[in-house]
Subunit: 357 residues, 4 copies
């Protein structure tokens, strides 16, 4: 931590900063420039709130040198970590790029099972589908709840694909964890620390979506909440940030993929469906995501988008999804990877047929 | 709802939109322009998801005509609603502008009681202080929890001021409601619908902070969650939005005060402390807030900001707070209002003395 | 400038940074921490591009300590500077708050003269009106050009009010300067350095609007362009920044007023008309601007907003403007200032009558 | 254009809107809903400013149905247009993806010629280099001016590669056009309409960078300025937008590539160097850009980034550039395209050798 003193800071004020630093067990280095004195604090500064120092008399500003996250950082773990969702591996040194697919919300057993089979046939390796839906309007469909979870479990049985689904409240974590292979924290809950703490205390892997209003640092701090509560199986998911541009729902920040891979060992995947909110943008953004190194994709698919109970316009039809899977294959190969195959599964004889998407 | 068809939409596609609209019990008006056909849908369109229509074949885009919120809207209730927090009135046709003040977090009984007395003496009408703190870092102080709530109750006893404090998890709503006069939903939880639903199901008033990257529409939709769950006592609190500007922590959006007063009947107050994150910006922004019609203020005060456990740099000292209260008086009068006096309270004989800040 | 080395930077890499610094005539201080080595560069670092250093081997990042602007800074000039526009004083220690008013564009001699008289009668102290209009669409009205300037000069003659008008191209600076009392640089041209340089080389004062997506630092750097070209008469004008919020055209950043007054000696005024784009928001935001210390206001007024050739919806009617002027008076007094009176002027006998708005 | 009337708009107010519309030669359709009356205006509404209508009594808001741009739109020209820069083709149905490369600024003849040869050898098809540099600080290097242009011409002679360079002032358009094969309008000048008009009146193609604060609609309107002034050879260049995220200099908006290709027939290329401001992000973003359909790339290359006079940290070394060119090849092929070869050129015998990058 570097403390920049005001131009006319007194000797007493400089001593004041030094005292606070030494009380926190830190060493101090003073540099007197022509226009400013700078105080460097050395040691484990994570325990000292920069804001506290910033308020001391004579201090102009405080500059953080170290990243605020630790367990999530590349410095803590040099090797990229692997996270397995029901046997499907994300990240690490894996060449595979798994694709998670399914409807935004579980609407009925019939439609969920039908869509699950279609995406499995097209080469998806993990199923998605929301039983608890955070919706902007209290009058919108909020999800089926536990019956939706049972439907997802049935879809897993029939297709052999592991299942990821969202949890929106700490009380539901145990319930959702009993059915799902991975728990998803949605964009609107990335700062819901009570929820982060709860999913950190259970063993299932967590797909942590970036808050639409969150910096990459804050996103990694949210991961740190989960990691520090004991769960090291976190997959980060970039899903677009809020900007002034309105032609897409959010602005997909693909450079975040490259930034995260520099800063953190955690796998990072991309959700082009929520990022753009437009089915016609999903394929080009999925292609771009794989080309810049994403460790996986999460894509919405619905066989009747016009009557979907949520997020219809951003869902691919199964046909468009199958076509996208074919297009992704050479792109993945062009960057030395391959689109992951579904896990072997006895329950699903169609798996073999679908093996080569 | 207005549906704009693509330039070359076919008659069949136009019929398709009409069918969906009529199935939803809506009337339809067709306007054929030179370049586009436009279909107007008339009736209670809130039940029809615009996104569903947007995905129909031949549709270019869908334009919402009505606001998505209803109970929060000025059309639903023409008169501005009054919300009482332990006898202190916000909004309605009240001329009074109450000031909520106190430390960011409850740190100890001693410091809380001391600061409470200081702000009461300076003319604050409601106390604030966090017992549950949502913090970006899992390593930062997270609040005292229930012991903090007991300290707040003691501060109320000693000063006679009602107390507002934050709740961060649905499980804690009952507990916090047992101690506090009003529950606060913080900026990071504005989209935590499980929490909104829970505070909507209990009787204490709710101070709903705007999400730091939430539009005014989304903020009013969050209020709608609480209102539709049965609690009509909602106070909106503008606290800055996230922008590209970094010289203040967030950008205080004072025009939101004027916009909200047009769109909604709910009282709207301003928190200049969190908005700017800088003690030296709190006073000018508080002055501006009162001048443009805010129904109240929420300000952080700490008697030792440098050792505060959270948000030190944005806290006013008690002396600066007392000085601000004196400066606010003529501004409030210049716009035909007055800074509210504390509620009469036997427990606090110093009330009278403090009556004229 | 503080240079943070990578965790595993070599001694050679540290020496490399020292060499570059010493070649630039800077002194060097080294602090070796547990996790990082930090190199402080001391001296006139403005000549050394931080980006150059950032790219040296072993460097993690570079932190600027000093502000990048110099002539515009409060450190360069402790006293706030006064800028006179045709005798009307902005800033310095002046208690006066001048109000600039008029139509967005000069549309015809008749309408300009009529509106000029109306705003003068209501207490405006400077006239505004655009003869050159930067418009998003090439098909929109682009201003009358030189004939518009002649009309403005005539309006000045008739009302005695000095005139400020926009210049959009370096070639036009001399022409506009021959007619106007102050030149305005619009938001879209704040980064037009050729234009900034040109207005810096002539003697008329410059009203420099903040770019709608420019940081305060960049805005002060744009002022630095003008100051460093020899013209010290710069008035800064906050006019809203672009954010994700769409209920107002831009988001008025009133904290910028307070920030600028800390960082710079230059006067800072506020334009609530362009910031909000809504006539019904102009008055509350004007009140707020004066309450937080703005050194002046710039407001659009049109007597027939519905047929205005540009920016109708944000213009006040003359009646609303006169009413606003009355409302501003007590707010200015509440903060120890007063709304400026028009300059004494023989050409305008109605001046006296209008003296008390 | 659709005009939404206020809930309690009178018959007179509706008539008022109809009158204005009919005066503008438009037809009118009225739809009376339960809560609102809607007036549809039909005909060439581009001549009617929506803001004018928005201000009429009784009007709640106005919704634009048609895009504000015409010549730039896909509706005006269904086939994608081809733009040739000195024989190198961008856009249209071309399978080729040309790469523009070179230093940010022309610093000296020696360095420019050396870098030009290196990028030509690595497979670049167009040279870039700034002779006029718009810089945030007046104290930064502003470019060599005309001598820089002469150096660029010499580099073209030696390498056979056409040259694109920035123009920052209307006065310089003729001069720059005399040397360059294409003129670049930089991000900060996208709203400099005087400059857009001037480059629209000369024959050389124009590379129009997106303003860092500009929506896609505004960007296409800036293109419309050039097209409507008579120059149809416009290449759009996405180069990142300003957001709240600070880990990259700007946020590269790759979905803009897909959006532009839907809305416009103009070619669209991507500049990952300025977008990210970090050399280590250039390669992954270049890969992503090609994968999502960009019609070309513009990349900064410098053989001594640490001593570059501008934008060092975002420049690739020639070695990294050559490696990127090899990596791009299979990505382009995976999406059915190929990285363009340099134009045949007698002046450059090394062309053949470089033919297979």
């Amino acid at each position: 931590m570097v403390v920049v003193m005001r131009q006319n800071a007194t000797e007493d004020e400089i001593q004041g900063v030094m005292r606070v630093a030494q009380n926190a067990g830190l060493q101090v280095h003073i540099s007197k420039g022509e226009e400013r004195t700078i105080v460097g604090l050395i040691g484990d500064v994570r325990r000292l709130d920069p804001d506290t120092v910033a308020f001391l008399p004579g201090v102009e500003r405080v500059v953080r040198i170290l990243q605020p996250f630790k367990l999530a950082s590349r410095e803590f773990m040099q090797m990229r970590s692997r996270v397995s969702v029901g046997g499907v591996v994300f990240g690490g040194d894996s060449e595979e790029v798994p694709v998670i697919a399914g409807p935004c919300a579980v609407e009925s057993e019939e439609s969920m099972l039908r869509i699950a089979r279609l995406v499995a046939d097209a080469g998806a390796t993990v199923l998605r589908g929301g039983a608890f839906k955070p919706r902007t309007s209290p009058y919108s469909f909020q999800g089926l709840g536990e019956p939706g979870l049972r439907i997802l479990a049935k879809a897993r049985e029939q297709t052999g694909l592991p299942v990821v689904t969202e949890v929106v409240s700490p009380q539901d974590v145990e319930l959702v964890g009993a059915y799902a292979d991975a728990l998803q924290i949605g964009s609107r809950n990335m700062h819901n620390y009570a929820l982060l703490h709860e999913v950190g205390g259970q063993p299932k892997p967590v797909v942590l979506k970036r808050g639409m209003m969150s910096s990459i640092d804050e996103w990694l701090m949210a991961a740190e909440y989960i990691l520090s509560a004991g769960n090291s199986n976190v997959i980060l998911c970039e899903r677009g940030i809020r900007t002034f541009e309105t032609s897409t729902r959010n602005t997909l920040d693909l450079s975040a993929v490259a930034v995260v891979k520099k800063l953190s060992h955690l796998p990072v995947i991309v959700d082009p469906s929520h990022a753009t909110g437009r089915a016609d943008m999903v394929v080009p953004m999925a292609m771009a995501a794989v080309a810049c190194g994403a460790d996986g994709l999460m894509v919405e698919v619905h066989d009747d988008p016009a009557s979907a109970l949520s997020d219809g316009p951003q869902s691919l039809t199964p046909g468009a999804f199958a076509s996208m899977m074919r297009s992704l294959k050479p792109v993945a190969e062009a960057v030395g990877r391959r689109i992951a195959l579904p896990p072997a599964c006895e329950a699903s004889p169609r798996r073999e047929a679908a093996g080569e998407p």
